[in-house]
Symmetry: C2
Subunit: 412 residues, 2 copies
């Protein structure tokens, strides 16, 4: 039998009624002849409640205990989903991560899946079971302790199972009906994409579109797992949602696939740093050790042996960055005049694999922003995306202007 993986996020299993609705969708696929692996998240709110307990108990918690505690929400949903399917006369049973077992690294709270043995579940399919319900987000370390994969990790669980079982497709049921050219709350003309390439989805995911966890897209790309994002709140046809797939499977596409944005960014500039070999390594090692996620980096031209170093990071990490630089200054490791923090910036990006073959996308982007009187503070580019930092107050305007200019409301 072909295998299908279906993943239901927290809002899709938030109540017993919603679990019933999700189970009906599973029943439809079973009726088509699939052996189905269902990956479930915790009922929405449960994980936050448990995380709250942990933080209140122990601010600097033992991550092994954190994982043992917060993984319990998924176990409850898995059992309830199996019972619901049984009530519909669909042979089903639940598996917790350690029962499969989903073998992971021992990097607690951010573990990576290393192996998913398929024999146990495959044998049950052979005995007539139609649905294996697996608790997402969790696994077991080489030491036999429970691990979790980080927030949103159930997407990664789903893709990893699809890869391990050679599934025909991995359907991610969520509270939106697909991947859009941009966030419809910012641009009403945003259009749902029927298909998008792994590369584009990866850029959009890491640039702030919250539909899929970045790691799940990476994994899908590596193992060529067809991913479909669709809504659990609508009746669905086979062509519903957005298919994330190899670019070869996309016949026609716009040069630009979408506009992504990230609202809460900060721009920091270390003024007049002594410009010597290794200074960048020193600065960014110190920031990394302080837990600052540096995104864009710009170095100005050196004058008289001194330079300015600029980077961006999430706005809530500014204090951490400031402390790290002060300490490096006091320790005599980095000599600088001043650290200037601009906490009022946002990042806007255009993404599209078409950029590889079309020139002029960057020039067009800069002209559109300029025409709107928006000043660009930092620019970075990759093969298939261009990102700029701008004043936060212009973010919506920039997204709308770019969406219009690249005609994203029209299909290719």
């Amino acid at each position: 039998m072909p295998v299908l993986v279906m993943k239901f996020g927290g809002t899709s299993v938030a109540t017993l009624d919603r679990i019933r609705r999700a189970a009906k969708r599973v029943g439809v696929e079973v009726a088509k002849g699939y052996d189905v692996i269902v990956i479930v998240s915790a009922m929405s709110g449960e994980t936050n409640k448990l995380v709250g307990f942990v933080n209140e108990t122990s601010p600097l918690y033992d991550a092994r205990e954190y994982d043992a505690i917060v993984s319990s929400g998924e176990n409850v949903t898995a059992g309830l989903m199996a019972l619901t399917l049984q009530e519909m006369d669909v042979p089903a049973r639940s598996w917790q991560g350690w029962q499969v077992p989903v073998r992971t690294t021992d990097a607690h709270s951010a573990a990576r899946i290393e192996e998913i043995p398929t024999d146990n579940i495959t044998a049950k399919f052979g005995e007539g079971m139609k649905v294996a319900v697996v608790a997402g987000f969790q696994g077991i370390s080489p030491q036999g302790r429970i691990t979790t994969l980080g927030r949103g990790g159930s997407d990664t669980t789903a893709v990893a199972f699809a890869a391990a079982f050679g599934a025909e497709r991995c359907d991610i049921y969520t509270d939106v009906d697909g991947v859009y050219t941009t966030d419809p709350r910012v641009e009403a003309k945003a259009r749902k994409l029927d298909k998008i390439s792994f590369e584009e989805m990866l850029e959009l995911a890491s640039l702030g579109a919250k539909v899929l966890q970045t790691r799940s897209v990476e994994l899908a790309m590596r193992y060529k797992v067809k991913l479909r994002v669709l809504s659990s709140f609508e009746e669905q046809s086979d062509s519903a949602g957005t298919l994330v797939c190899d670019e070869e499977e996309i016949m026609e596409s716009n040069v630009v696939a979408g506009v992504a944005f990230s609202r809460d960014e900060a721009k920091l500039t270390l003024m007049s740093v002594a410009d010597r070999p290794g200074i960048a390594a020193t600065i960014f090692t110190a920031l990394s050790e302080a837990g600052v996620n540096v995104d864009m980096i710009v170095q100005n031209i050196s004058e008289e042996g001194r330079t300015d170093m600029t980077w961006s990071c999430p706005v809530d990490q500014v204090i951490r960055a400031e402390k790290a630089m002060q300490k490096a200054h006091e320790d005599g490791v980095i000599n600088y005049q001043e650290l200037v923090a601009d906490k009022g910036v946002a990042k806007v990006s255009v993404v599209g694999i078409g950029m590889r073959s079309h020139t002029g996308v960057a020039a067009k982007m800069f002209k559109v922003l300029s025409d709107e009187g928006i000043n660009i503070k930092v620019i970075t580019t990759s093969e298939i995306k261009i990102s700029v930092l701008i004043d936060r107050k212009y973010m919506e305007l920039a997204v709308q202007a770019l969406h219009d200019a690249f005609e994203l409301d029209k299909a290719a």
Copy 2:
């Protein structure tokens, strides 16, 4: 190091504050030099919430999924208790049932513990860990699925660990401060017992005193585990609570240790049954198969080949009993005139190992009740207890009168 087992019930871990208070008690025992095994229940209300989910999803649920779901509450408490101890600088970690592993039968929702390997936890004690926090109520079946031990099963988990590790004592922390001569809500002069024998505790537990799960007392008696029941809401000394122990360790005791009662009983009489060999077996097999828990049984003297058969059972099982008898009548298996159900009775019992050597306890009990004008409907006795069925409206009066007459408010 000597090992101590400490068990905290649902009300003792109902909030993070209460978990902290319980952890402080654990810290006190660690400071005395014990290696401590802590058994925890789910935060009170959690298990009921999960059971509600299961019943709403699937009235005739798969007990394997029920167990996987309802066991999650204990896992949360175990992790939180370990974190709380770590915050107090007490080296601790949590274990879920399958991690120990607590091996049980596969009788899901009513599994029995078969084996608890000690090597894993003992090795950690050897490495400097001071507290092993174990999720109570759960285990793992030979098939590798999660099992639970039935409601109140954490008491049994605690005693089983105490037996496996040869613990010096098993302390059961609960919301009462010990075992009383009777329920203080019924008789204000009820007195807390310092010590009680296993046999007496077993009778009291199975007669309706809800302090300890019956099976945990059986297990403690078989393995000679010293059990102590005490309150988690009071500062405790070494002699606090009630010690449940071998009768040899109790120097002096009253003839009667306590008065137990069970409010919601029913008395059923099958009138004019054909009295032939095997008729009792036929009746009580039919009742057992219908899930009726028959307690007392009385058969009247036979007259002209017919007799009356009387038994008691919980009042909420009367309908089941009636249906079973009707069916047997229709099937021609049991021939009777009428089934009379008296749903307004209660059971009152006096318990004490002193009865073995003292005669006259039964006579005294009957006289006390008679003096109060209370009619006795059914009597049963064992070596260390006498139980009577009486009208429910006299229950409190009977308990108070017996408590007075046997001078249970005075220590031996």
